[in-house]
């Protein structure tokens, strides 16, 4: 098996490598997308359903 150090670049600081290895399991992480989303699909005023798929997200049916 290859030495684990081969995984890292030669010029990577040893302190950084040690920090990566020493980090606790289960890091607290922050998502880049929401964990919960709410959408509203309503027809615009009039007969047609306008932009039903995207631009009506979160918009009221009629103002």
């Amino acid at each position: 098996m290859a030495d684990d150090d081969d995984f890292y670049e030669d010029d990577e600081p040893i302190e950084k490598i040690k920090a990566l290895r020493a980090r606790p399991y289960g890091l607290v992480t922050a998502p880049s997308a929401p964990r919960a989303v709410t959408f509203n699909l309503f027809p615009m005023c009039g007969e047609d359903w306008r932009s039903l798929r995207s631009s009506s997200q979160g918009e009221p049916a009629c103002r």
């Binding site: 399991y25 289960g26 890091l27 607290v28 992480t29 922050a30 998502p31 880049s32 997308a33 929401p34 964990r35 919960a36 989303v37 709410t38 959408f39 509203n40 699909l41 309503f42 027809p43 007969e47 047609d48 359903w49 306008r50 932009s51 039903l52 798929r53 997200q57 049916a61």
Partner: protein, 152 residues
């Protein structure tokens, strides 16, 4: 990245109204569990309670919710230029909160509120897909407007 992704679990619930809370991951619902409505349908909502395995935290999970006919074809409603499907797509992602035990299941939520739909009488399906997992919930549209969803 594991070779086999732990499965995303979720429940699809039809209700009168729903709101997903991005702070807590909770799903707030009113009037859940109906299966029969009149036409045009009253405002209603599709709610997804998503259970994300620990190992799939910090992964963007694609969500797709679509209204289909009873035989699985997309429901098309009149649009400005052409008929359009009734669907919504999104992405969910959960992080690992402080203090949560390793291996815990993490909550996420999705809510789609829909205005009245001029659906012909028949059987319909709300189909949802979260990552590779898919669930459906069927409902029946009766011949006359009932005002509110009813359970028979």
């Amino acid at each position: 990245m594991p070779l086999v992704h732990p499965k995303i679990g979720f429940k699809l619930i039809l209700c009168d109204a729903a709101q997903a809370d991005p702070t807590t991951g909770k799903l707030h619902m009113l009037g859940a569990g109906w299966t029969v409505v009149g036409t045009p349908t009253p405002p209603h909502a599709v709610a997804l309670m998503v259970q994300v395995p620990w190992d799939r935290a910090n992964e963007r999970l694609p969500v797709r919710v679509e209204l289909l006919t009873g035989d699985g074809h997309p429901v098309l409603l009149p649009g400005p230029t052409a008929p359009q499907p009734v669907l919504q797509e999104a992405e969910l992602e959960v992080g690992r909160p402080v203090g949560v035990a390793k291996g815990s299941t993490l909550a996420a939520a999705f809510a789609l509120n829909i205005g009245p739909l001029p659906l012909p009488v028949g059987r319909y399906e709300w189909r949802a897909k979260v990552a590779e997992d898919e669930h459906s919930e069927f409902f029946q549209v009766m011949g006359q407007a009932s005002g509110l969803p009813v359970s028979l």
